[in-house]
């Protein structure tokens, strides 16, 4: 008796979930150029093009397994002589004696394929044209808004710049003179008092001297803060050298014998050398300043390169470029995380008992901003603080 399925003018294929072929009819065998039962038990993937194998694994099989059927699927079969055979497949999954079998009917679509290809090409062209047009329109609108904003900001900045220059002059020049005088007169007063032996007044005078000294270092810090931006040439900065320079500065400034900073060799990043040195200096200096007297200062720097979005403020804009994430941790006294924003605010200091002036943190923030980076601080009281800084490894204009 004729097995009608074998001579039907369509391909027929059944396979198990593991891809092994249970049955294929003679028509399909003939299309593929095989004779006899050599495909029996082989994997379905063997008669597919590479692309179809991927599609089978990512779409066709999941669809069959979850949905129980798949209709009008386009696949490319690979014949024994490596020719591609485009087919349309309808498939259904049936459980037979407890075993799921996937049944497929296949039709060749040589003619249809040409037509579809033309359709697709036409659609792609139309879509591209539309997309390009829309994109240009959006760009134009965005540019207009941006130009307007820039103009407004520029005007504002001209005024701010003037104010800042004035402020800078006051801090660096006008304020210095009265401070200097205060210190001199307090000194004179102290030597007079020492002769007359008035201890209580002498104490008061020494407080004036201390306060003046503090004022002096405060204005020095402010001056540093205001001049952070003056370093304007970006180069490839060797962070290891920057760390060592900063360590030396802390050692000299605090008259320390040693400062333990643990790190593995870091890559270079595009940036402003003096600023980055200043950043590390303040990170380390803060670690010393807010250290726990019960344990020696131990700073640990870890880093990783990872692709992050370059756009930090712009919403819905994405460009993933290489960033360096630096984590600088210390074992200092730490603080409660709720103060995080407060900490970075200019001139806020955390504990009245420390000599901290808070300006270090503001400089750190400023340097990070100038490098188009972001900063987050995590701290645990009595355990330590970690500064996480994310820098683009190259500055993108």
């Amino acid at each position: 008796m004729t097995n009608w399925l074998d001579v039907a003018p369509c391909g027929y294929l059944s396979f198990r979930d593991d891809g092994s072929i249970v049955y294929l009819n003679k028509t399909l065998s003939r299309w593929l150029g095989y004779t006899g039962p050599e495909l029996q038990g082989r994997k379905v993937e063997q008669i597919c093009t590479v692309a179809t194998r991927i599609f089978y694994n990512t779409h066709f099989f999941p669809l069959l397994k979850l949905h129980g059927k798949a209709d009008e699927i386009f696949l490319s079969l690979r014949a024994k002589d490596k020719r591609d055979i485009p087919v349309m497949v309808n498939a259904e999954r049936r459980i037979e004696d407890g075993v799921p079998i996937n049944h497929c009917v296949l039709f060749t679509i040589f003619q249809r394929q040409k037509y579809e290809e033309e359709l697709l090409a036409a659609r792609r062209d139309a879509e591209n044209a539309l997309k390009e047009n829309k994109y240009l329109e959006e760009l134009r609108a965005a540019l207009e808004t941006r130009t307007f904003e820039l103009e407004r900001q520029y005007q504002k900045q001209v005024v701010q710049h003037k104010n800042l220059k004035q402020f800078n002059k006051i801090v660096t020049h006008d304020l210095q003179e009265p401070i200097r005088k205060l210190l001199i007169f307090a000194d004179l007063l102290a030597s007079d008092l020492r002769e007359s032996g008035n201890d209580r007044t002498l104490q008061i005078v020494s407080k004036i001297t201390n306060a003046s000294n503090r004022l002096r270092s405060l204005t020095a810090g402010l001056q540093q803060y205001l001049t952070v931006d003056s370093d304007l040439v970006d180069i490839d900065v060797d962070l290891n050298a920057a760390v060592e320079a900063a360590r030396k500065k802390v050692l000299d400034g605090r008259k320390l014998e040693d400062l333990k900073i643990e790190y593995v060799s870091m890559p270079s990043i595009r940036g402003y050398r003096a600023q980055l040195e200043l950043l590390f200096y303040h990170l380390f200096d803060n670690a010393v300043k807010f250290s726990d007297p019960a344990r020696p200062v131990h700073i640990k720097i870890t880093w990783v390169l990872s692709d992050e979005n370059l756009y930090k403020t712009e919403k819905e804009k994405y460009l993933f470029v290489e960033h360096l994430r630096l984590n600088v941790s210390d074992n200092g006294i730490g603080f409660d995380n709720e103060y995080q924003e407060y900490v970075t605010e200019l001139l806020n200091k955390m504990t009245p008992s420390t000599e901290g002036l808070g300006i270090g943190l503001s400089i750190i923030t400023r340097v990070v901003e100038n490098h188009k980076g972001t900063l987050s601080i995590e701290s645990r009281k009595n355990i330590g603080t970690t500064f996480s800084i994310l820098f683009p490894s190259k500055i993108h204009e």
């Binding site: 593991d18 590479v50 692309a51 990512t58 999941p62 979850l66 949905h67 009008e72 990783v304 990872s306």
Partner: protein
């Protein structure tokens, strides 16, 4: 931005340790349904769809963001932060293994371990590296996808999802089923198959399990070996299951291997 809605995030389960299930290219969170029941009793289950897949909010799709696996990694991190998850066991199929890896590089403190099912750090052959594919194979795949979207829209439309003669597939099918907007699917395919994360492997500090299928054309054995050799703190397990979707074709074995790894870690 409502992240829960955006990524169609579902949470359930009786445990506290979170297991986050991330589907691969070509499907959505439905693909986990044979696996997840085995973990519901002891874990907090989190499943989601990437933007553009399943029941996610297609309006939130951003071509720039999702043309890069880092954009998908950002989805994962945002979900973890939104749900305030900690010590996450991340289970990723296929490309999601690398998405999880990128997320774990960005925020290692959030993750306990990475479970990678059929992972590959690079699909395209390179000098001295066998990824399994040539660039032209991937171009051809994109064409195959294009062609299938002519009829695609039909069988993915919600009305057709209703399948009264197959009640065992459950009701959720009526909502969505591995439906992906064709344009988005194509971009996801490009982001997936043209990605090269070989340089990122050494950066991972979180321990990982590599589940390598026997005879998987998308992630061949050489790829699993390469991963195991370059991924610090990784365990390689070769499954008897064949193909690229062991969690669907051989869920029992997949569950067993996963449990063995998780229990082994706990003791």
């Amino acid at each position: 931005m409502d992240i829960i809605k955006r990524n169609n995030v579902k949470t359930w389960g009786k445990g506290t340790t979170p297991m986050v299930f991330a589907h691969g290219f070509g499907c959505d969170q439905n693909m986990w349904r044979f696996l997840i029941p085995a973990f519901e009793q002891s874990y907090k289950i989190v499943a989601f769809d990437y933007v553009g897949a399943g029941n996610s909010q297609v309006s939130a799709y951003n071509e720039e963001r999702y043309s890069n696996l880092n954009g998908y990694a950002q989805d994962v991190l945002e979900i973890c932060r939104e749900l305030e998850l900690q010590d996450v066991i991340f289970v990723g199929h296929s490309v999601s293994s690398m998405i999880g890896l990128l997320a774990a590089i960005k925020a290692p403190q959030l993750f306990d371990s990475l479970i990678m099912i059929g992972p590959s750090p690079c699909y395209i052959n390179d000098s001295g590296y066998t990824g399994g594919f040539e660039k032209k194979d991937i171009e051809e795949l994109l064409t195959t996808m294009d062609k299938n979207y002519i009829g695609w829209a039909n069988f993915l439309a919600p009305a057709i999802m209703k399948n009264p003669e197959r009640p065992e597939l459950g009701n959720e099918l009526t909502e969505s089923f591995c439906s992906t907007d064709p344009k988005i699917a194509k971009l996801f395919a490009k982001a997936t198959f043209f990605s090269d994360n070989r340089g990122d492997l050494a950066k991972v500090t979180v321990p990982s399990l590599i589940m390598q299928c026997s005879d998987d054309i998308i992630a061949p054995k050489e790829v699993g070996d390469y991963l195991h050799a370059h991924l610090p703190n990784s365990t390689l397990k070769v499954l008897k299951a064949t193909g690229h979707c062991p969690h669907m074709s051989e869920p029992d074995e997949t569950i067993e291997v996963l449990k063995e790894y998780l229990n082994g870690k706990a003791t």
